[in-house]
């Protein structure tokens, strides 16, 4: 662990680089991770731990376990959940918890609609004790439905003529 952390520490000291804290741990049929975006753009000081089924099938439902923790000492956090086309949310899309720097668990029931890599999108908004809006933060928990698709072969960054590849978008 010191070796990985050594790299992180070195990285930290040399430049203001990405301190991604995403530690995917596979335990049986579940995949766990930690999402800590606080090294990037400003936002609510929230970290989410998640545990999702490693994969499940169309038509089946599953439970995503979430644990929220905010560094904000007091107030209220409002959470809204939404999914893309590949998943259905099987419960209320809103949730709130008291901010007290303690972990807040939440179980989210979802249903798989189509195969693919989908995301449970989470929007957190914090308010102080007087109801004044503070900062917010968004997260996306990855959820695999069906077998993972083979990743396409990585394209070379340079085209055959030696120039950078260009994406052309047509003018209105």
């Amino acid at each position: 662990m010191k070796q990985l952390s050594l790299l992180l520490t070195t990285c930290l000291l040399i430049s203001a680089c990405d301190l991604t804290v995403s530690d995917d741990r596979t335990a049986g049929e579940y995949l766990s991770g930690v999402m800590d975006p606080r090294h990037g753009k400003p936002g609510a000081p929230v970290v989410i731990e998640y545990s999702v089924p490693k994969q499940f099938q169309i038509g089946n439902s599953a439970t995503v376990e979430l644990r929220f923790q905010s560094a904000t000492a007091a107030g209220l956090a409002m959470v809204s959940l939404h999914t893309g086309d590949g998943l259905n949310l099987l419960q209320d899309a809103s949730f709130e918890f008291t901010l007290n720097q303690q972990q807040q668990p939440l179980s989210v029931a979802i249903e798989a609609v189509t195969n693919g890599r989908h995301y449970l999108n989470i929007l957190v908004r914090e308010f102080d004790e007087n109801g004044k809006a503070l900062l917010g933060r968004s997260f996306s928990v990855p959820i695999q439905v069906g077998q993972p698709q083979e990743k396409p072969q990585t394209k070379q960054k340079v085209a055959e003529d030696g120039e950078r590849r260009i994406i052309e978008m047509i003018s209105k």
Partner: protein, 653 residues
């Protein structure tokens, strides 16, 4: 003599060939040669029994120097075969008039070799039955002008509620972008740059099929103020975004070619249903705005290469960046990554977010930042290096846009979000360790509005001067102390007003120096002050303690996770630095040592050895700063998290 039958003409041909060659005979053959050719190829024999009746050509025919002109034919309603075509006055050099191959009309062809102003030319067509004339206006330009304006659709942010405002989309110029002219095979035949209005112009062969393409690129490779910025898709092999016409069309058929990068938003569907072409150009524009402000205060500033990575797949998942799982918008090593997943979190139109990240790039390349990065929040008590770096980014976003309201939108329809007022002086946990205090001070130093303790209006230039000079070269760590002490020295007349601003954030501005020697704000806990502990080479050990009182768990960038020391080496020599645990209330410690000389890392000693750390290295003569960090604080938080160490620096034997 009228000849109508092939058989008869063949007989004549045989007879002519049988006649001994003479000048007269040859002339006769030449005169009827067109007829002979047509006889062999045409269904009917050519007819010069009607006089020509040429039609004038309307408008002005525009040609380009050194560009072969497509043949210009005159309509001959007379129908008769022509024997001669002449022109008056003479055509522009390189052009000529002749009878067309089928004898039916007059034709102008050739390659003009010089520019000529528009003028009228009279063509005379003649055959045995008579003659007729027609006129044509011709001009020869250096090239045929193809020009236009490149625009992108910006979706503005709004508050009340905070969101992207798709009802207020505005077309804005794509400024200083590389504009290419392509032929019908997609080969680049010319390159230019749009101006600040988005206008561009080419000069081209009017008869060539071309299309215009605008790259999401800013490029200046010569002269002062050089820069290179590209916007690429990190989920598609870092391919460069561009905006183009649908197909190549004849240059002369379409002289004015305006291009617009659409937002992709469909108001009726209340969703993105079309390509989000404007996003890369919105990013480019925000960065150009920042660069332009600095270019206006420094005529010689250069900006090193910057790559902005954006994709519709970039989302708030940590994972594989090549599929867009970038976690958040952030800066790292000359790359800015920006979120783009619709209905989750998009930042391409949140210009304050983009400029905040660009601020890290600016510090990294043009100024200096000793920030160690890591998790940070508005009310956190941070390592002072992090507090300055993050506060600077926030303040800069307000400075560049001249709008202190930092807005970040997200959620379904991008209809959610939050504002952050960087001009807000009411800060929770104010101090030299708080990014909110730093941003409030920096923004107030810049802006022209007096509010609360703010009576300073320096503008950007004085701040920039400190960033590229004293802050960049400070012998201690970059912080609000190194910045403000230098700013006051450079702007002595504003010292009192600067003090007021700084004091208002619970920082001792009145007696400030680069080391914060006179600072008394300890955040209410022990083992925070002094900010720098002096160390003597070959002297007695000094004892410093780290704490984790302000940690949130899993971080190492909070106040007093690292303690700072200063020492001066008398000569270039090898020196040994050592930290040894003397006490802790949470068990085994793992001290690490970092020694810097003016921001340059000289010693990095981060072994996993328990309770001690030591390293020997050559150091120049002069001042150095040391960071003594307790690595195991990563797993600690709250009070009762103190670890103390004896630190020495000695000349190596």
């Amino acid at each position: 003599m009228l000849l109508r039958h092939r058989a008869i003409l063949r007989l004549w041909l045989v007879l002519l060939l049988a006649v001994p060659a003479s000048a007269g005979a040859l002339q006769n053959i030449a005169a009827v040669l067109p007829s002979i050719i047509c006889l062999l190829l045409c269904d009917e024999l050519p007819d010069d029994s009607t006089a020509p009746a040429l039609q004038n050509r309307g408008g002005t025919t525009t040609l380009a120097v050194n560009q072969a002109a497509a043949p210009i034919n005159f309509t001959n309603n007379g129908g008769g075969i022509l024997s001669d075509c002449t022109v008056s006055p003479p055509l522009p050099a390189g052009l000529s008039v002749s009878v067309s191959a089928n004898g039916a009309t007059c034709r102008i062809s050739g390659t003009p070799t010089e520019t000529v102003a528009a003028a009228s030319y009279t063509i005379t067509a003649t055959n045995a039955s008579g003659s007729d004339q027609a006129t044509i206006m011709i001009e020869v330009l250096a090239g045929f002008p193809v020009s236009g304006r490149a625009l992108f659709e910006r979706v503005p942010t709004r508050t009340g509620p905070t969101q992207l405002d798709y009802d207020a989309i505005v077309a804005m110029p794509i400024r200083r972008a590389t504009v290419q002219l392509l032929d019908s095979n997609g080969a680049v035949i010319d390159t230019t740059q749009s101006d600040d209005n988005g206008d561009y112009a080419f000069s081209v062969n009017p008869n060539q099929a071309v299309r215009v393409r605008v790259l999401a690129e800013l490029l200046s490779e010569t002269g002062p103020q050089q820069y290179e910025v590209v916007v690429v898709d990190n989920t598609d092999a870092d391919s460069l975004y561009s905006l183009t016409e649908g197909s190549a069309t004849l240059a002369s058929a379409r002289a004015v070619r305006d291009l617009t990068a659409g937002s992709g938003w469909d108001l009726s569907a209340d969703a993105y249903t079309m390509p989000r072409a404007s996003a890369p150009f919105a990013l480019l524009d925000s960065v150009y705005e920042a660069m332009q402000d600095f270019m206006q205060v420094d005529a010689n500033i250069d900006f090193p290469f910057l790559q902005i990575n954006w994709s519709v797949n970039n989302r708030t998942t940590f994972g594989d960046e090549s599929i867009g799982e970038i976690g958040t918008s952030f800066y790292s090593a000359d790359n800015i990554f920006i979120l783009g997943a619709a209905d989750s979190d998009t930042d391409e139109f949140d210009d304050h977010v983009v400029i905040h990240e660009w601020g890290h790039y600016f510090e990294d390349n043009t100024s200096r930042s000793d920030s160690i990065g890591g998790p940070h929040g508005a009310d956190d008590r941070l390592d002072m290096r992090v507090a300055f770096g993050e506060g600077f980014g926030n303040a800069l976003s307000g400075i560049i846009t001249d709008d202190p309201l930092y807005i970040d939108t997200a959620g379904p329809g991008q209809a959610f979000g939050f504002p952050l007022d960087v001009d807000n002086n009411s800060v929770t946990n104010p101090g030299w360790y708080n990014e909110s205090s730093v941003q409030a001070i920096l923004y107030d130093l810049y802006d022209s509005e007096d509010d609360g303790p703010d009576t300073v209006s320096l503008g950007l230039a004085p701040l920039y001067q400190i960033l590229i000079d004293e802050q960049k070269n400070t012998p201690v760590f970059t912080s609000i102390f190194s910045f403000i002490s230098a700013l006051k020295a450079d702007n002595a007349g504003q010292a009192s007003a600067i003090n007021q601003l700084v004091n208002d954030q619970s920082i001792n501005g009145t007696n400030i120096d680069e080391q914060g020697s006179a600072e008394t704000n300890s955040a209410g806990v022990a083992n925070v002050l002094p900010i720098y502990t002096p160390l003597t080479v070959d002297g007695a050990a000094v004892n410093v303690c780290t704490i984790a009182n302000f940690n949130n768990g899993g971080d190492i960038n909070k106040l007093s996770n690292t303690r700072y020391l200063t020492f001066t080496t008398p000569s270039l020599n090898e020196y040994t630095v050592t930290a040894t645990r003397t006490s802790s209330n949470y068990g085994v410690t793992d001290p690490d040592i970092f020694v810097f000389e003016k921001g340059v890392l000289r010693i990095l000693s981060i072994s996993p050895d328990a309770n001690t750390e030591s390293a020997t290295a050559a150091l120049n003569a002069g001042p150095h700063v040391m960071g003594m960090q307790e690595f195991n604080v990563v797993g600690q938080s709250g009070s009762n998290t103190t670890a103390c160490f004896d630190v020495t620096v000695s000349t190596a034997p």
